[in-house]
């Protein structure tokens, strides 16, 4: 602690700096096997018993959340012909910041004929939190990717509202080096100004974005979006909102709900269709 003009200021706080990396390769039997695993500080990766031929990895931030000054870097590489499904053990909590923003980066490489499913649980932004996050995905021309990110503003069950936050969330997907998907979400400052407007949050506090990129033609993608709309439409009532659009080699879904509890069934139904009915990692089902 340093004392300055009679006020006690916290000294530069020791913040967490975690990093985890996993790489998988195809085994002789066609099953996906672990190739490399690196874990630093609070970033841990667990490999539960796999289902089918895919390998499932669970990311754990043992610090229990992120706050200003924290940094967390994940990277994963799915080698040629593999199938890697990645989930997180728990929701990522972004706590009130005493200064600065938390930094999180994710880098995913999806090799020739490989498939990677990015299935983290919700990111919960607390009041006065700050997060700069980016996810970069590099895909081989014939690779497949399904991913989702869910943002929740405050813990509605605890009557918490987020009045101020700083969020920069950046997605970039490249296939064969070409940028095919970009999405920048930005919430700056007064979140209450965005809370009720129909063009912004429309009274919702939970938002999910899902992206599906896979080999296939426009007709197959149109059929996929039809299946999504048919499955999700009966589930939308009241403030629940669903948007689906397939174009330019991808299918994009945005979901909004008043709280995380009501968003989850929509996200699960959408993922089930985008993943051809494959069961979600066990951490999603607990």
């Amino acid at each position: 602690m340093t004392v300055e003009q009679g006020r006690i200021e916290p000294a530069a706080m020791q913040r967490s700096v975690g990093a985890g990396r996993i790489a998988v390769k195809a085994g002789p039997d066609g099953r996906t096997r672990l190739d490399a695993l690196h874990q630093k500080a609070n970033a841990k990766i667990r490999i539960p018993k796999a289902y089918g031929t895919a390998l499932e990895a669970v990311l754990i931030n043992t610090a229990g959340g992120l706050t200003g000054g924290d940094r967390l870097d994940w990277s994963a590489a799915a080698g040629a012909g593999t199938h890697l499904a990645i989930a997180t053990q728990a929701c990522e909590r972004i706590y009130k910041s005493a200064g600065g923003t938390a930094q999180q980066t994710t880098r995913l490489d999806v090799g020739a004929g490989a498939r990677l499913d990015w299935l983290p649980q919700e990111t919960i932004l607390f009041d006065d939190s700050g997060l700069d996050r980016s996810i970069e995905i590099d895909m081989a021309p014939d690779a497949a990717f399904v991913g989702l990110e869910t943002l929740v503003l405050g813990r509605a069950a605890m009557g918490e509202t987020v009045r101020r936050t700083h969020l920069r969330d950046r997605w970039r997907i490249r296939r064969a080096g070409q940028l095919i998907h970009a999405d920048n979400v930005r919430l700056d400052g007064d979140a209450t100004a965005l809370a009720d407007g129909p063009a912004t949050l429309a009274g919702c506090t939970a938002i999910a974005t899902l992206v599906h990129v896979a080999p296939g033609d426009d007709e197959q993608r149109a059929a996929l979006s039809e299946r999504l709309r048919a499955a999700l439409a009966p589930m939308t009532a009241g403030a629940l909102q669903v948007g689906v659009s397939a174009f330019a080699g991808k299918c994009v879904v945005r979901l909004m709900a008043p709280d995380a509890y009501r968003l989850r069934p929509l996200a699960i139904a959408a993922l089930s269709i985008l993943r051809d009915g494959a069961p979600l990692p066990a951490v999603w089902r607990s």
Partner: protein, 223 residues
């Protein structure tokens, strides 16, 4: 970049490029507004004002403004323009939004070619804001002036859509246009200093409206 032209010539040029004579077809696209009206989110002049003011600042128009400003800076470098064009296409949240920006970009470039030598302008698949930014930069038109003209045209296009959708009349539309003038000026000023690090929005409701519009029947607009 060419030498800066006189203010009067620049004003005439911007008015020409963003005029109804240009085949950009702004009148054919509602940018999700038609869906918002169908959903009952926009029902009268007050809710229309709110929708336009919010989407302008928090939706695709802000990203478009940032791309225009970056294209203006990079106007003499076709490689940088190609990267911005790729980013502009990738940022589109829906099929219709992508068609809107790409088709209007191509139409703009075809018409703007009358002011430039062959090969000076970027290729046809360049999204509208990148195309306008590049053309304005090459012509020596001030970035902030080009941004203001572009953003104000987005607003007038939305108001024309609203009139056709019977949400408001010309008097109500003019009132909103007057009320949004400071917002447009402020955005143009901020965007002129912005870079791709400043991209981003939170118009989730407008995004969903844009995606849902592709299934709306019957409809007057292409987006």
């Amino acid at each position: 970049m060419a030498t800066a032209m006189t203010d009067t010539t620049a004003l005439i040029r911007l008015m020409s490029w963003l005029s109804p004579v240009f085949p950009t077809g702004g009148f054919a696209y509602s940018a999700g507004l038609e869906q918002a009206v169908a959903d009952g989110a926009v029902t009268n002049a007050a809710s229309l004002h709110g929708w336009i003011a919010t989407t302008l600042v928090h939706g695709a128009p802000w990203n478009d403004a940032v791309l225009l400003a970056e294209a203006h800076r990079a106007s003499d470098n076709l490689d940088d323009i190609a990267d911005l064009a790729e980013l502009g296409r990738a940022l589109c949240v829906s099929a219709e939004r992508r068609r809107e920006t790409v088709d209007q970009g191509a139409a703009f470039l075809d018409a703007a070619a009358h002011w430039f030598g062959p090969g000076a302008l970027p290729p046809r698949e360049t999204p509208l804001p990148v195309a306008i930014g590049a053309a304005a930069g090459l012509a020596g038109i001030d970035a902030e002036a080009a941004l203001a003209a572009f953003l104000n045209t987005l607003v007038t296009n939305q108001l024309q859509c609203a009139i056709r959708l019977s949400v408001t009349g010309q008097t109500g539309a003019a009132q909103i246009l007057a009320a949004l003038e400071p917002s447009v000026a402020d955005m143009a000023r901020r965007a002129a200093a912005a870079t791709t690090d400043d991209l981003g929005g939170s118009a989730f409701g407008a995004d969903i409206a844009s995606m849902t519009h592709e299934t709306l029947q019957p409809r007057l607009f292409l987006s």
